[in-house]
Amino acid sequence: MLLYVLKRLGLALVTLVLLSLIIFFAGQVLPGNAGRAILGPFASQQAVVALDHKLGVDRSLIAQYWSWVSGIVQGKLGTSYQFQAPVSSFLWPALGRSLKLAAFAFVIVVPLSIFGGIVAALNRGRVVDRVISTTSLSLSTVPEFVSGVVLIVLFAIGLKILPVTANPPSGSPFLTQLKYLILPAIPLVFILFGYIARMARAGTVEALDSDYVRTATLKGLPRWVVIRRHVLRNSLLPTITVIATQTGYLIGGLVVVEKLFTYPGIGTLILTAANDKDFPMLEAGVLFIGIVYLTATLIADVLYTVLNPRIRLGASE
C-alpha cells in the first residue's frame, strides 16, 4: 500500500519535471527574443541586448531552466515583466479567488450529478434515463462561454434577476458574493454534470446487475434497502475518482468563465500575462495549474486504492 503510494508519487514527480520542461520550452524558447518582444520593433539593438542581459535570457538554455526551476522550488516565482513586481504577489490572491469559484461550482454539481446519475440508472432504458443522459451529454459538449452567454441573456438581461459580472461591490456580505458567483458557476456545472452523472450511472448499473444485489433482492430485502446498502456503496467508488480528476478540467474551464464574467482569478491572470507577453507570470500560472491537477489526480488514485477493497487487499482485479 505504502509502496503503491510512493510509486504514484514518484510518477507524479517525473510528470511534473516533464511538464516544467514543456512549459519552459513553450514560454522561453519558442517566443524567441524576450527583450525584443517587450520593447517592440522600434527599440535599438543595444537596448534589447541590455534588457536581455538584465532579464538573464542571454544565458544558455540549461542555465535559464535551472535558475527558473530552482527558484520555484525555493518559492521564488520570478518577477513579472509587466508589473516589475514578484509574480507571487499576484498569483496567490488570484488562485484563492479561483478556488472560491471552483469550490462553489463543486458544491452545486457533486450532489446534483450523483443524484441524476443514480436516478437515470434506476430507470434504465426509460424516458427519464434517456432525457438525463442526452441532456447531460449535450450540456457537457458545449463550450463554457457559449452556455455562459445564453445564461447571461436569460437571467441577467431577460429576467434581470442576476448580475452580469462576477464582481460584487467591495465589502458585500457573503451571501451577496455568492449571488454574483451563481451565473459564472453554472457553465462549469454543466460540463461537470455530464461526466460525473455518466460515471454515477455506469457504476450504479454495474452494481444493479451484480450477483450480490440479486442475492439481496431474492433474500426479500425491500428495494430501497437494497439500493442504499448494496448499490450505492459500490456505485459511488468510480464516481469519487472522477470527481477528483475533474479538478484539473475545472481550472481550464475557469480561464474561459473568468474572462466572460471579468473575474480576477488565475485564468484572467494567465490570459493577461499572455497578452502582455509577460512570460514569468504566464509560466508560473500554468505550472501551478499543472501542480493542482497532478495533486488532484494523485489524491484520486490513492483514494480509489484505499476505498476499493479488491485493490487494498492486494488481489488482482
Binding site: T15, S140, V142, P143, V153, Y249, I251
Partner: protein, 312 residues
C-alpha cells in the same frame, strides 16, 4: 489502463474503454470468417435508421453548406462595417441585428462556419493519423517505447487541453496552420492512449501470435494486421475528437488566440461583442453562441450513434 488515467477531457477514458469492446467484437467477427463487409453495411443501415444520427447529420450538413456557399446567399457582406447602423436590434432588414461596428450579425453567423469547419476536421485528421501511429507503436512494441511515450503523454495531459493549446499558440502566434498543428498534436496524444488500449487487447489474440511466428515485419503487423481490427474505436475517437476540436477552437477564438478578426468567426464574434451585453445588446453575442452550440451538439449526436451501433 486503469480507470484513473487522467486526461484533459475525462470522458475520453470512459469512451475508450467502452469502445474497445466494440473494436474487439469486430475483430472476433473477422476471425469467425463472417464477411466484414456485410456487417459494415448492416451497421450503416442501422445508423441511417437512428433518429439522433439523422438529426445530427442534417445540422452538420447545413453548416457545411453555409461554410462552402455562405458568401453567395447572405444578405450583406459579412465584413462590411456601417458606423451609422451599429447595435441595431433584429429587424426585417437585419434578421439577427447588427453588431458594435455595424456588421450584419446574420451574415457573419452564416459565413462564420467556414474557418472552424476548415480547421477542426484538419486538426482532428492530423491528430488521428499521428495518434494511431503512436498508439500502434506503443501497444505493439511495449517496453521502453511505451514507457517513454506514456510519460510524455501524461505530462502534456496534466494540463487542460485548452491551456496546452493556448500556451503554444501564444508562443508561436495564432494562424490557421498553428491551430491545426497544435490541436492536432495535442489530440494525437489522447488518441494514442485509446489506440494503445485497443492494441493491447488485440495483442493477446491468436492471429498476432501467428504473425509473430511467421516472422512478419513489424510495420506490416502494425498497419496491415492490427490496424483494420482497431478501426472501430479509432472512428469513434475521430468523431468525439472532432466535437472537442470545435470546442477547443471556438474557445481559443473566444480567448483571442484563435481565428482573428475581422474574419467572421463565432468564438471571436462573441469575444468582441460580449462587453455590450450589459447594455442590453444581446443579439450580437447570442446568435454566434447558439451557432457553436448547435454544431458541437450535432457532432456529438453523430458520435454517440456511431458508438452505440459499433458496440452492439
Amino acid at each position: 489502463m486503469t480507470a484513473l488515467d487522467p486526461t484533459g477531457f475525462p470522458a475520453a477514458d470512459e469512451a475508450a474503454s467502452a469502445v474497445v469492446s466494440g473494436g474487439t467484437s469486430i475483430g472476433a467477427a473477422g476471425a469467425l470468417d463472417v464477411s466484414v463487409g456485410r456487417i459494415r453495411r448492416e451497421q450503416l443501415h442501422q445508423l441511417l435508421r437512428s433518429k439522433t444520427f439523422v438529426v445530427g447529420a442534417v445540422i452538420v450538413l447545413w453548416w457545411v453548406v453555409c461554410a462552402i456557399f455562405g458568401t453567395l446567399f447572405v444578405p450583406f457582406n459579412a465584413t462590411a462595417t456601417d458606423i451609422l447602423n451599429t447595435n441595431l436590434a433584429p429587424s426585417a432588414a437585419h434578421w439577427f441585428g447588427t453588431n458594435n461596428v455595424g456588421e450584419d450579425v446574420f451574415s457573419r453567423v452564416i459565413v462564420g462556419a467556414r474557418d472552424i469547419l476548415e480547421i477542426a476536421p484538419l486538426a482532428t485528421l492530423l491528430g488521428t493519423v499521428l495518434g494511431t501511429t503512436i498508439g500502434l507503436a506503443q501497444g505493439y512494441l511495449r517496453g521502453a517505447v511505451d514507457m517513454i511515450v506514456g510519460r510524455i503523454v501524461d505530462a502534456a495531459l496534466a494540463l487542460p487541453i485548452v491551456i496546452v493549446a493556448f500556451i503554444f499558440v501564444v508562443a508561436v502566434g495564432p494562424s490557421t496552420l498553428t491551430l491545426v498543428v497544435v490541436i492536432g498534436f495535442v489530440f494525437s496524444l489522447i488518441i494514442a492512449r485509446t489506440v494503445r488500449t485497443a492494441v493491447l487487447q488485440e495483442r493477446e489474440l491468436d492471429y498476432l501470435a501467428a504473425a509473430r511466428l511467421r516472422d512478419e515485419r513489424v510495420l506490416h503487423v502494425m498497419f496491415v494486421e492490427i490496424l483494420p481490427n482497431v478501426l472501430g474505436p479509432i472512428l469513434v475517437e475521430f468523431t468525439v475528437r472532432l466535437g472537442y476540436a470545435i470546442f477547443t477552437i471556438a474557445t481559443l477564438s473566444f480567448l483571442g488566440f484563435g481565428v482573428q478578426l475581422p474574419t467572421p468567426d463565432w468564438g471571436a464574434d462573441v469575444a468582441s461583442n460580449y462587453g455590450y451585453l450589459a447594455a442590453g445588446f444581446w443579439w450580437e453575442t447570442l446568435f454566434p453562441a447558439l451557432a457553436i452550440a448547435s454544431l458541437v451538439i450535432a457532432i456529438n449526436l453523430i458520435g454517440d450513434s456511431i458508438e452505440s451501433v459499433l458496440i452492439q
